[in-house]
């Protein structure tokens, strides 16, 4: 009964398409499987026993399970470098033609692994936490030890090329989210949908149906899978139902927010195939907000923990059934089943029906008497009672099972063991409801002695049903699902419409017995290794050692042994581990408790979580309406907040592009000597209206606003409540109750939030409204001695120096476009800031250039802006300040209204002892003793250059440039007590060993009287 090239493939049965053979490779060798296979079923069909090497001891490992709980069959997928996917579980990977997979560990290969020999020899020296107890001497060697530890750890490898695939996010809302499309989930979805609720049904597997797909049971006289098919047909026909196969609910967050990861192409190829010439979306993340959540996630079978239980050929009983019934694969020839319950007898019956030999069923119970037991005995299968497999024999594959009578309560082997020859051992220690998702919400699970498992804790708006709630008999599962679905519909305002229950031939099952770790003739510490967590090589002995060492909390046990830390997150081993810890600590399992399960249920591709928010969409790029012009004119750009601002405009001089230094020198001279133009659109602009607008300004700015007349502009400072400067800018009075505030480019959003925060939480009685208008207006700064002459050519505004004074603003037309023109200056030169509606900016800008040629109009960028303002001692918030600078530190006493009638933000803080301190760091100018030196921004200042390290640092350079007008370097700095240290020499010891000297001077280097901006 063997298939040609697939020795373990049954000639019939399974939900595979035998007409569609698929070729795939594993560790470089070519194999054939069928459409409908998983990689795991195909490997088993081909008789591949060893799929990996274990993490710590390098032991050979085979496939254990058939689903998400698989700990061993973790492979590297990908036929090209960019398509690599590390750590794919073979049991969850659909086979496709050309699939290429490799084991993640094993050298030189998984079959003959050198580390395995070392693991065998040194395994005894690696108890849990051994690395905490050694590698300490000599101390200098740790980095070397660590290199080798790192090399031997890890599973798969990261790709080293960028991901060719794309990922989507979807936002979904539904009345009822049903997680899991097994019998409970299908029944719940059907009844909720019939009641009219909007239902999303998701299931992690390739095909919906869950346990119905490999069930022996009949529903309404038909195979269970047929009932599943008709239920799915009905669901698919309903408009209010969304079916999401291959979709795993990975995270259950507060307020019924659930994240679903839908894999759309991973069953087709390693890189998403093209459809209509476009790359398909590899996976989608559904961000679901559900009225009700129905948890129908089923249960995971627990393996028994016995010596040698990791040798390939040891499988879960349920997995054996799944491979036979769903995939037509019998993963061996001679089976021994070791069980604590009736349910697992199905594996032996399936095995027998597949024509393979069941050597024996070893039942831990003294007198099993359920129907399945009788059936097995009727088939002539030997049933050994009161016993268990105490040890699996074999190295690279099971060769036998040592079976002995056991005393469960006494935790010992009684009598002599018998060795049975076999190549497969299936085990079942009962079932654990899949409670992971409910645990994500913080709900503590509850232990139930009757089902020997934890059920989900209470979560508002969530109901668990079927196996997830400890209900296992098929008839009851469907009835429970139907009722829960109907209730969920009702809870979300829909009708209660439970389904007609199918008839099920009930199978009487006897009670299970609580068995987790199987005793061995030797003590746990001396017995051959009994594995609990296969992926992390955690053994029963390891857990016992941990508890002996005082690790009594289950969280400590987990962390000390690494139990449950793998990519399977302990789905297979955790309950067994808790039971073993409980035994060692002489406590009950509920007293020991569970660890907290965290998202994700199964691992999720980073890319899927990132969605489209990467590359050019990582953070939006903001451009001004003049951006195209800047590009055309060769601007280099600087990132300021999200904005792209022209940094400088290098020109080609004598066939060579200017350096930044040359360009900036040219731009600076143009502004000081003729006229320059800056795109200042990015400055934040907030339109403030309301009868209390003026009052509000007085409370958020340090200076006074009650007398600012319509048509006037004022510079203002804004402090945090700790008295430290947070932003600055001008605010113009547009009308009695109408102001336009400007902010720094980077601070715009923060200031807007700040104003709303104070308005909404502290002063809601004030009638004031804020609107961000940053993008609505384009701002062009025309500045330099020729600014008035240039602007006069294209505006109808009277620019007379006495009627349109410094710090005035006027409305009119510029180049025929309605404009607000502000006479403010950030260069110290005569300056006009022209604001026009952003869409009209380009013609205005171009008109300025048309007329500006004869005046030498020169575009300049942020670097020149920085130099010009620094020459004038004007600060940039965030560069010359850092959240620890008060207005007084900046010498701006004039901008503080201590006598304002209503307190303002920061006022109280400015009267604290530390803010009154004499030797605070204060803003000064620095003139380098060597004028050729441009001090480093961020250089630290000391008074005594000869002191030893640590040096007493007295301040630092905040801004520093070469000034083409002064033909020297100059800097702004903050220095302790600087305002009273004019003329002192300070020193700047640099990393290259040089120490620069500089003189403390006033911060204004050019035109100290401010004559030039008032012309």
């Amino acid at each position: 009964m063997k298939h040609d090239k697939q020795p373990n493939r049954l000639l019939e049965g399974g939900r595979i398409d035998r007409d569609r053979p698929l070729t795939f490779s594993f560790n470089g060798q070519s194999y054939t499987g069928f459409a409908g296979d998983t990689l795991a079923s195909a490997l088993l069909a081909n008789g591949v026993d060893i799929v990996n090497r274990s993490f710590k001891y390098s032991r050979p490992r085979g496939i254990v399970a058939a689903g998400a709980e698989e700990p061993n069959a973790v492979v590297q997928l990908g036929s090209s470098e960019a398509a690599q996917v590390p750590n794919v579980r073979a049991t969850q990977q659909a086979l496709y033609d050309g699939l290429s997979a490799r084991s993640t560990n094993g050298w030189p290969n998984v079959q003959r692994d050198l580390m395995g020999t070392i693991g065998k020899l040194s395994g005894g020296f690696m108890p849990p936490g051994f690395y905490y107890k050694t590698f300490m001497a000599p101390a200098s060697m740790w980095m070397t030890y660590e290199k080798y530890i790192r090399k031997s750890a890890g599973l798969g490898r990261s790709p080293t090329e960028s991901d060719p695939d794309i990922y989507d996010h979807l936002h979904q809302h539904c009345d009822v989210l049903v997680i899991g499309a097994g019998p409970a989930g299908l029944a719940a979805a059907l009844s909720a949908a019939r009641g009219g609720a909007r239902v999303i049904l998701c299931d992690e597997q390739e095909t919906m149906g869950g346990s119905l797909l490999d069930s022996r049971e009949m529903l309404d006289g038909q195979p269970a899978a047929q009932w599943a098919d008709s239920a799915l047909d009905e669901l698919a026909s309903l408009d209010n139902v969304t079916l999401l196969p291959r979709t795993t609910a990975n995270g259950y967050h507060d307020h019924n927010f659930v994240t679903l990861h839908e894999r759309r192409t991973e069953h087709l190829a390693d890189v998403a195939p093209l459809a209509n010439g476009r790359r398909q979306v590899r996976s989608r993340l559904h961000r679901v907000r559900a009225g009700q959540v129905v948890l129908a996630t089923g249960a995971h079978e627990r393996p028994l923990v016995y010596a040698g239980n990791d040798v390939p050929g040891n499988l879960l009983a349920g997995a054996v059934s799944t491979y036979i019934r769903r995939y037509g694969v019998a993963p061996g020839n001679k089976l021994v089943l070791s069980t604590s319950n009736d349910h697992a007898y199905r594996a032996a019956l399936d095995w027998s029906e597949a024509g393979r030999e069941v050597v024996a069923i070893v039942d831990a119970r003294a007198n099993p008497d359920g129907e399945l037991v009788t059936q097995a005995q009727a088939l002539g299968i030997r049933v050994i009672t009161g016993s268990a497999v105490v040890e699996a024999k074999g190295a690279n594959r099971v060769t036998g099972a040592r079976v002995a009578k056991i005393d469960i309560d006494g935790f010992k082997v009684v009598g002599k063991a018998e060795e049975l020859t076999c190549d497969t051992i299936a085990s079942s220690g009962g079932y654990s409801p899949v409670i992971h998702l409910a645990s994500h919400t913080g709900a503590r699970p509850t232990w139930r002695d009757d089902i020997l498992g934890f059920v989900p804790g209470k979560v508002t708006g969530m109901t668990a049903t079927g196996g997830a709630n400890g209900v296992y008999a098929l008839a009851e599962v469907i009835a429970d699902g139907s009722q829960v679905g109907a209730q969920a519909a009702s809870a979300s305002g829909h009708q209660t419409a439970p389904i007609d229950l199918p008839s099920v031939a009930a199978i009487r099952e006897g009670a299970a017995v609580a068995l987790y770790q199987v005793p061995h003739e030797k003590t746990t510490l001396r017995a051959p290794k009994q594995f609990v967590d296969l992926q992390n090589d955690v053994t029963a002995a390891g857990i016992e050692v941990a508890t002996r060492e005082g690790f009594e909390s289950i969280e400590h046990v987990k962390r000390y042994t690494a139990m449950g830390f793998g990519t399977d997150q302990g789905k297979l081993g955790n309950i067994n581990g808790m039971a073993i810890a409980a035994r060692c600590l002489k406590r009950s399992i509920p007293e020991v408790g569970t660890t907290v399960f965290r998202p994700n249920y199964t691992p999720v591709t980073f890319g899927a979580i990132v969605g489209r928010h990467c590359r050019e969409l990582f953070d939006p790029e903001r451009y001004t309406s003049l951006h195209e012009w800047h590009i055309k004119h060769g601007a280099e750009f600087e990132d300021v907040g999200q904005w792209k601002r022209p940094w400088y405009f290098p020109q080609t001089v004598n066939g060579k592009p200017e350096t930044m230094h040359e360009a900036v020198a040219r731009e600076c001279r143009a502004v000081r000597e003729k006229v320059g133009i800056l795109d200042a659109t990015t400055l934040g602009k907030i339109d403030i209206q309301g009868k209390d607008a003026r009052e509000f300004l007085g409370r958020v700015y340090t200076n006074k606003w009650e007398k600012l007349a319509v048509g006037r502009v004022r510079y203002g400072l804004m402090c945090k409540d700790d008295g430290m400067l947070m932003d600055d800018g001008t605010t113009s009075c547009l009308g009695e109750n109408h102001f336009l505030m400007t902010t720094t480019t980077g601070g715009a959003a923060g200031v807007m939030e700040w104003l709303e925060l104070w308005h909404q939480t502290e002063w809601p009685e004030l009638e004031v409204y804020f609107t961000s208008v940053t993008d609505h207006w384009a701002t062009m700064t025309v500045t330099g001695p020729e600014a008035r002459n240039l602007l006069a050519e294209i505006t109808d505004i009277d620019l007379d120096r006495d009627t349109f004074k410094f710090m005035d603003w006027r409305e009119g037309k510029v180049a025929g476009v309605p404009a607000r023109v502000f006479r403010i200056s950030f260069t110290g030169e005569l300056a006009y800031e022209i604001n026009v509606q952003a869409n009209y900016a380009m013609p205005v800008w171009e008109a300025l250039f048309e007329h500006g040629d004869k005046y030498g109009l020169t575009p300049y960028g942020t670097e020149t802006m920085h130099v010009l303002r620094a020459e004038k001692g004007m600060i940039i918030v965030g560069q010359d300040t850092d959240g620890s600078v008060t207005p007084e530190d900046l010498g701006m006493h004039w901008a503080i209204g201590y006598d304002k009638p209503f307190s303002w933000i920061g006022k109280r803080a400015l009267t604290r002892p530390d803010t009154r301190r004499e030797n605070r760091k204060q803003l000064v100018g620095l003139r380098p003793k060597d004028p050729k030196v441009v001090l480093q921004e961020g250089a630290q200042i000391v008074f005594d250059p000869d002191q030893a390290i640590p040096m007493a640092m007295m301040g630092h350079v905040t801004s520093s440039y070469y000034s083409p007008i002064l033909d020297s370097g100059f800097a702004l700095a903050v220095v302790k007590g600087g305002h009273k240290r004019m003329g002192d020499t300070v020193y700047l010891p640099m990393a290259d060993g040089q120490t620069h000297a500089a003189e403390i001077v006033g911060p204004i280097f050019y035109d100290p009287k401010g004559a030039r901006q008032n012309v």
């Binding site: 750590n87 740790w142 790192r150 400590h556 997150q569 430290m724 560069q879 990393a991």
Partner: protein, 416 residues
């Protein structure tokens, strides 16, 4: 106390590991101790250890409501560095760094302190000014560090996207070679074992429900296991500090926020240093087990849930994939949250309080792990002497009255 060594491992292997001693006892609370430490996390256990070892004060109880090292010690991303901007913080974190450098040997417990270096990336001109400033300050404070340009960064981390194509191209970084990561759980356990070895009682599953205060002086605590007396009580309870302060009758300027972290599945070695970016906003390292350990900023709201919101996870991974496009196909295994106690100036509080004999060590926000040895060392000194250690003095609670804040926001951002 059993001494750990490679030789010892071999010896124990021969006796099937049957003779390992408990790493700490499970004692019954005494009626009275000289000092009570509330909070059995890394900082609290370190405090107890140094009290016993350096000051000979061994009649000490550490009272922990859950399990040792179960709070932020178990939840952080294990980064250790000392390249802080301000003198006060730099001195404290560098004190910790020096203790880290001999810690495994001192406590005879391998905390796997891996000095693989930390990069703090700069993506804007202002980032680079701040980096220059901080590295200059570090140098003059005797702390290692240098400023790298984009090419230097690329050489250290070839797999990072340092190209101009990035949304915020890497312009450079600060590089502290002595910085790195450590095994967080081992720090708690190693200090616990060390403290226990000196006779300190570690009382787990013991919750402080109130303070006994007589005439403005603390004389003990109420717990779910009865009253326990002590004239000196140090509270080291991170996210629950404001709750405890409330029990003692005063307020602390703290906000407790969720801080999340996540790990990928284990991978073969791919990233050999720690990379942090405040601007793109994420940080990443690879654990010895192979997981990429990833974090970013706090969730904006207050909470004690030890869980955060999903958008924070999304933003964090966006930042990581922006910096490392090759990680897009790597998969996220697990996320979790801790409760961080943040101060207005992003610096901790090590301080006396309005209640005599009651001290608080809290407010470490997102950056407490790296300070563990230094914090415990300085706090133990303060409890032993009845006055704050010179390194701890600037972090007094009085600074929120005087205004003498130590604002690390500017240089450190939210991500420590």
């Amino acid at each position: 106390m059993q001494r750990y060594s490679g030789f010892g491992l071999v010896k124990h292997a021969l006796s099937h590991h049957e003779n390992w001693q408990r790493q700490w006892r499970n004692p019954t609370p005494k009626k009275e101790y000289d000092v009570i430490i509330v909070g059995g996390g890394g900082h609290g256990l370190a405090t107890a250890y140094y009290l016993a070892k350096e000051h000979g004060i061994t009649n000490v109880a550490v009272i922990e409501k859950g399990w040792l090292g179960g709070g932020n010690t178990a939840r952080n991303t294990t980064i250790v560095r000392s390249n802080y901007l301000w003198d006060e913080s730099a001195a404290l974190y560098e004190h910790a760094m020096k203790l880290w450098e001999g810690l495994s040997q001192d406590i005879n417990y391998n905390v796997m302190f891996s000095q693989r270096g930390v990069l703090n990336l700069g993506h804007t001109l202002q980032d680079m000014r701040d980096i220059q400033r901080r590295v200059n300050a570090n140098r003059l404070n005797g702390i290692d560090g240098e400023v790298l340009d984009a090419r230097g960064v690329q050489e250290l981390v070839p797999i990072m996207d340092c190209s101009k194509r990035a949304r915020y191209p890497v312009m450079g970084a600060s590089w502290q070679p002595r910085a790195g990561v450590a095994r967080h759980d081992a720090v708690a356990w190693g200090y616990a074992r060390g403290a226990d070895g000196h006779g300190v009682d570690l009382l787990q599953q013991t919750e402080v429900t109130g303070f006994k205060i007589v005439d403005g002086r603390v004389v003990g605590v109420h717990t779910n296991r009865g009253d326990i007396g002590a004239k000196t009580v140090g509270c080291v309870t991170a996210g629950n500090s404001s709750v405890l302060a409330n029990m003692a009758g005063f307020n602390l300027p703290l906000e407790s926020h969720p801080l999340q972290a996540l790990v990928s599945e284990p991978l073969k070695p791919i990233l050999d240093t720690v990379v942090m970016s405040n601007h793109v906003h994420g940080y990443i390292s690879q654990s010895d087990k192979g997981d990429l350990v990833i974090g970013a900023g706090i969730d904006g709201y207050n909470g004690y849930g030890q869980r955060g919101s999903y958008p924070t996870v999304e933003h964090t991974l966006q930042a990581i994939v922006e910096m490392f496009p090759i990680f897009s196909r790597v998969r996220m295994n697990r996320q979790w949250g801790g409760i961080v106690d943040t101060c207005p100036d992003a610096c901790p509080i090590l301080s006396k309080t309005p209640v005599k004999g009651l001290y608080f060590n809290c407010g470490w926000g997102t950056g407490g792990f790296k300070a563990t040895p230094g914090s415990g060392h300085a706090f133990a000194w303060s409890l032993a002497k009845g006055q704050m250690h010179p390194l701890a003095a600037p972090f007094s609670i009085d600074r929120f009255h005087s205004g003498a804040l130590i604002d690390e926001h500017g240089a450190a951002g939210v991500a420590h």
